[in-house]
């Protein structure tokens, strides 16, 4: 291996490199001082088509069996040059990049320094290339089934797209019905079409699609495995209702005596029973028993007996017309099922900022200070007021409504430094819905900026102001307080420089979109990253916007950051297309840069001593234990083994191993050592 014929190609990168590095000199010095480097050249743009052709031609003409491209970061073009090498028949892992741009020309303004360092960097890489070994892509089989976590619009859209592509989808939704937040909305911007009218057909479509298996009232228990081969445990929470037997006839919830429970779907503005469906169009349209609030379960907990033995109330089961076995089963227990999937889409959505967080606006204190989602329920035909705008405290029609934007959003003091993106638009929509229903009413909006970037968005918000007559005031509200039946809103109008005091009947807070409370938990279960606001992170904000940090796991919708419905649907489609691409092949090829635990022929089986520090530091759970056995089956010792499918090649294990029994292919000890030794100490 020491007699490799190595070619070095130094890139000018326009003037990015050549302005501060004398590339000709680098090439010349490299040829002169490195025996084994048989060919060197420079080129204006190595990554261009002619540049790649030059590389391919020279590999063939010069019979090169090792290549160093001195150019930009390997993150940019390692892939490009390795692919070029493949076309000539050279194993791509004999091609190395020496980064003389980000790590040299961009940081050293003086030519002599840049040139000398570049020459050093190239020499280090030629020494590494000398030790490079051929590696072959790892092939892993693919389970042709996808998991979608979350049954909101993002999850439904992604599931439908994958199902239409001909693959099975398992959808897990933790609530009793799919639909998510979109099902709660009244109308949608910028067209003002009814949310339910466009959402429920999609819900039905998903429910009726043969390729989609739905698990509502279920949560993800654990996720193991790797791209193409995930094993997921799903906890099907006890619903207390047999979905196969129940017909959703409504007999049970009509007789339920616990009717004063705040409805989560109506954001606490309406009531529901203890056995309930969240909303009339729920899918599945079959109830669930709220065990926290049901008097039978309360009694059973108090007496420490099985729920079915409690005789406090059995109205629902008595009313159930299904015979001979009733569809209600009080003793039902959680069930854990295991599924195997090849890809996962996370679409777990968002939550609205807690209304109690803004004490100065009376959130959580005054009944008539409501959040954006609560207003949606007030305006919705299926809502607690059947679409009539009534204020929660006394049911009166509010004649003056103040909308406050950026409640939480863009306010680092409240923990959301980001813009929630949708509030400008939905507030404009709210003013319209309000004016459509209360013609003589007046809507005031306090805003910081109006951010309506989107197709038809600016026109929409202008319409709210110009046609619907909403009064927009640029400024913040300092306080909301109660004065008799009115709510006094104290704010500033910074355009006129005056203090504004409005006596309103109702105040609507455009509350921020926040990450779900358990976003971190799901991120940890999936081993994917999340950002400072607990939104799940895409791996590249521009070029890989739906890919998570773990291969085979994709993101869709607001779990990744605030976004509106069109954007969510587009992202769900994008995630689905990634999944379809993944599921379209029988085998996956993975970079063979994986760790390897030392194994030797008998009698020394492995230098690994099995302390399993590697297992503890591995962020991908890729280290397993393996018994090395003698012929008679007795265990000689237990050692570590790397699961190639899970290993992402980060090298933590190799760095941790005291006996150096783990090495990383492509970055093994000999390669690194050769690089270090090539550094000349002056």
């Amino acid at each position: 291996m020491g007699n490799k014929k190595i070619g070095v190609f130094v890139c000018h990168c326009g003037t990015n490199i050549s302005a501060t590095v004398d590339v000709e000199k680098v090439a010349e010095e490299t040829k002169k001082n490195n025996p084994g480097v048989s060919y060197t050249t420079t080129y204006k743009y190595m990554c261009s088509d002619p540049g790649q052709k030059l590389l391919r031609d020279k590999i063939k003409e010069e019979g090169l069996d090792g290549v160093v491209v001195a150019a930009c970061s390997p993150k940019m073009h390692e892939h490009t040059f390795r692919n070029a090498a493949i076309k000539t028949g050279l194993n791509p892992y004999h091609v190395e990049i020496s980064n003389i741009r980000e790590q040299c020309s961009w940081v050293h303004p003086e030519i002599p320094v840049g040139t000398e360092k570049s020459t050093d960097l190239v020499r280090m890489m030629t020494e590494k290339v000398r030790k490079d070994k051929s590696l072959n892509a790892i092939k892993v089989p693919v389970t042709k089934r996808a998991l979608v976590i979350g049954g909101g619009i993002a999850g439904i859209q992604a599931a439908l797209d994958i199902a239409d592509g001909g693959h099975e989808v398992i959808m897990v939704e933790r609530e009793a019905s799919i639909g998510g937040h979109m099902a709660q909305l009244s109308e949608t911007f910028p067209t003002l079409d009814c949310s339910q009218c466009i959402m429920t057909p999609k819900m039905v479509e998903a429910a009726q699609n043969d390729n989609i298996t739905m698990h509502t009232w279920s949560e993800i228990e654990s996720v193991d495995g790797y791209i193409g081969n995930f094993t997921v445990k799903i906890r099907k929470k006890a619903r207390s209702v047999d979905l196969d037997l129940c017909t959703g006839c409504s007999s049970c919830w009509q007789v339920c005596p616990c009717s004063k429970i705040k409805s989560e779907f109506d954001m606490g503005l309406g009531n529901r029973t203890a056995i309930y469906i969240p909303f009339p169009q729920a899918i599945p349209s079959k109830p669930v028993i709220d065990r926290e609030n049901c008097i039978l379960f309360k009694d059973a907990r108090k007496k420490n007996i099985k729920p079915n033995d409690s005789k406090v109330c059995r109205k629902c089961i008595d009313a159930c017309p299904i015979a001979p076995v009733k569809a209600i089963d009080y003793n039902q227990e959680d069930e854990i099922i295991e599924v195997k999937v090849g890809a996962i889409i996370v679409a777990t959505g968002y939550k609205e900022l807690e209304d109690g967080l803004y004490g100065e606006y009376g959130g959580g204190k005054y009944e008539d200070v409501i959040t954006g989602l609560q207003f949606e329920r007030l305006a919705s035909a299926s809502g607690p007021t059947e679409g009539v705008i009534k204020r929660p405290s006394d049911g009166k029609e509010p004649e003056i409504v103040v909308f406050i934007q950026c409640v939480g959003s863009r306010d680092p003091a409240k923990g959301c430094s980001y813009c929630s993106k949708t509030c400008c638009m939905y507030t404009a929509k709210h003013t319209m819905l309000y004016k459509h229903k209360v013609h003589h009413g007046h809507a005031f909006v306090f805003y910081i900026d109006i951010r309506c970037a989107g197709k038809g968005y600016e026109e929409f918000s202008q319409r709210a102001i110009e046609e619907e007559g909403a009064t927009y005031l640029r400024g913040r509200v300092s306080r909301v307080y109660k004065k008799g039946e009115k709510l006094v809103v104290l704010g500033a109008d910074t355009l006129t420089g005056s203090v504004v005091e409005i006596e309103a009947d109702m105040v609507v807070l455009a509350s921020a979109m926040k990450a779900q409370d358990d976003a971190m938990e799901i991120a940890q279960k999936l081993s994917i990253q999340y950002d400072k606001d607990k939104f799940l992170s895409e791996i590249h904000p521009k070029l890989k916007p739906v890919e998570s940090s773990s291969a085979g796991i994709f993101l869709a919708g607001t779990c990744q950051g605030p976004k509106d419905i069109p954007e969510t649907v587009a992202q769900a489609g994008a995630a689905a297309s990634k999944v379809l691409a993944l599921l379209s092949s029988d085998e996956l090829e993975r970079e063979p840069v994986v760790a390897r635990v030392d194994r030797q022929l008998p009698p020394v089986f492995s230098t690994c001593i099995g302390c399993f520090y590697c297992q503890k530091v591995c962020p991908y759970s890729a280290i397993e234990s393996e018994d090395i056995k003698a012929r008679d089956g007795s265990v000689i010792k237990t050692v570590a083994r790397v699961n190639e499918g899970l290993c992402q090649g980060c090298g933590l294990c190799a760095a941790t191993c005291r006996s150096k029994s783990i090495e990383l292919d492509g970055f093994n000890d000999e390669q690194i050592y050769a690089e270090i030794n090539a550094v000349e100490f002056n």
Binding site: G610, T656, S659
Partner: protein, 281 residues
């Protein structure tokens, strides 16, 4: 105490609870003891216990020759017992595969060893049978525990470097430090790896520095300061000074003391979001 020890050993061997008892035996002179491996109940009188029982017998748990004798009972002082805790945490031994005969100890050696000065394990923290009257373990402050570093820490960076250069120059690469260490249990040490040769095996200053620093680093967050390396060093290199310093830094930065609790997460293999970053300089 000796009688109780012998009686227990005999009982364990007779009942076949264990196959062998690792203990201390009389040496050639009264000031010395030697390790003994008792496999027959009638030999238990070879066992002894006195203030010269300095060795940490747990080091034999890593030796194939001793392991071949079968399930062991092992006589340990409080300090030695900490090793067993680490060995369990590092998957080298299962708790049920070993019988621990703890002995209470109020100090060892003549004059008493450095480690005994701030000893907070007069009674071992882990044992199956305790020999000797149980002693209430004392508590020492952070500063008291690392008092032996006081002089060393007063040195400037340059002085420290010169000090170690001088010390390591004495090293003859006999590897006694690693042989005696109960936590140096790798089948193949990094120093034995020759492709590439990370550590120069000759007794050259460069290789000496690599070896001694690597040895100390490999014990960071693990060493329980039994001081055996320092005791056996024929060149009198104060090896435990390095170990102790690393133990101090580990405790300061990660609130972790090796060998005290089998359920603690290993400091050097655990990432926590609030980990101190002061160690990066």
């Amino acid at each position: 105490m000796i009688e109780a020890l012998r009686k227990k050993a005999e009982e364990l061997l007779r009942s076949k609870t264990v196959d062998v008892v690792y203990g201390y035996g009389e040496g050639s002179v009264p000031e010395r003891t030697r390790p003994v491996f008792i496999t027959k109940p009638e030999d238990v009188n070879k066992l002894t216990w006195n203030k010269y029982c300095v060795y940490n017998l747990t080091t034999y748990l890593k030796k194939q020759e001793a392991r071949k004798l079968g399930k062991p009972a092992i006589v340990v002082k409080g300090c030695d017992a900490k090793t067993i805790t680490v060995l369990i945490k590092e998957s080298q031994i299962k708790r049920e595969d070993i019988y621990i005969i703890g002995v209470t100890c109020t100090g060892i050696g003549e004059p008493p060893a450095t480690k005994c000065k701030a000893c907070d394990v007069n009674t071992p923290l882990i044992y199956d049978e305790l020999i000797g009257e149980k002693i209430e373990n004392k508590e020492f402050s952070f500063d008291e525990r690392y008092a032996e570093l006081d002089e060393y820490e007063k040195l400037s960076e340059k002085e420290k470097w010169d000090f170690w250069q001088k010390q390591f120059a004495k090293c003859i690469k006999c590897y006694a430090c690693s042989s005696i260490c109960p936590l140096c249990f790798c089948d193949r040490c990094i120093v034995d790896k020759n492709q590439p040769q990370w550590i120069d095996p000759s007794a050259h200053p460069r290789g000496n520095l690599s070896w001694n620093v690597t040895r100390a680093y490999h014990l960071a967050g693990r060493c329980i300061n039994c001081e055996e390396c320092q005791r056996v060093c024929p060149a009198d290199i104060p090896l435990n000074l390095l170990n102790k310093k690393l133990a101090k830094e580990t405790e300061k930065n990660f609130k972790y003391r090796s060998g005290y609790n089998v359920d603690d997460e290993l400091a050097m293999a655990t990432y926590k979001e609030d980990d101190s970053e002061d160690i990066f300089k």
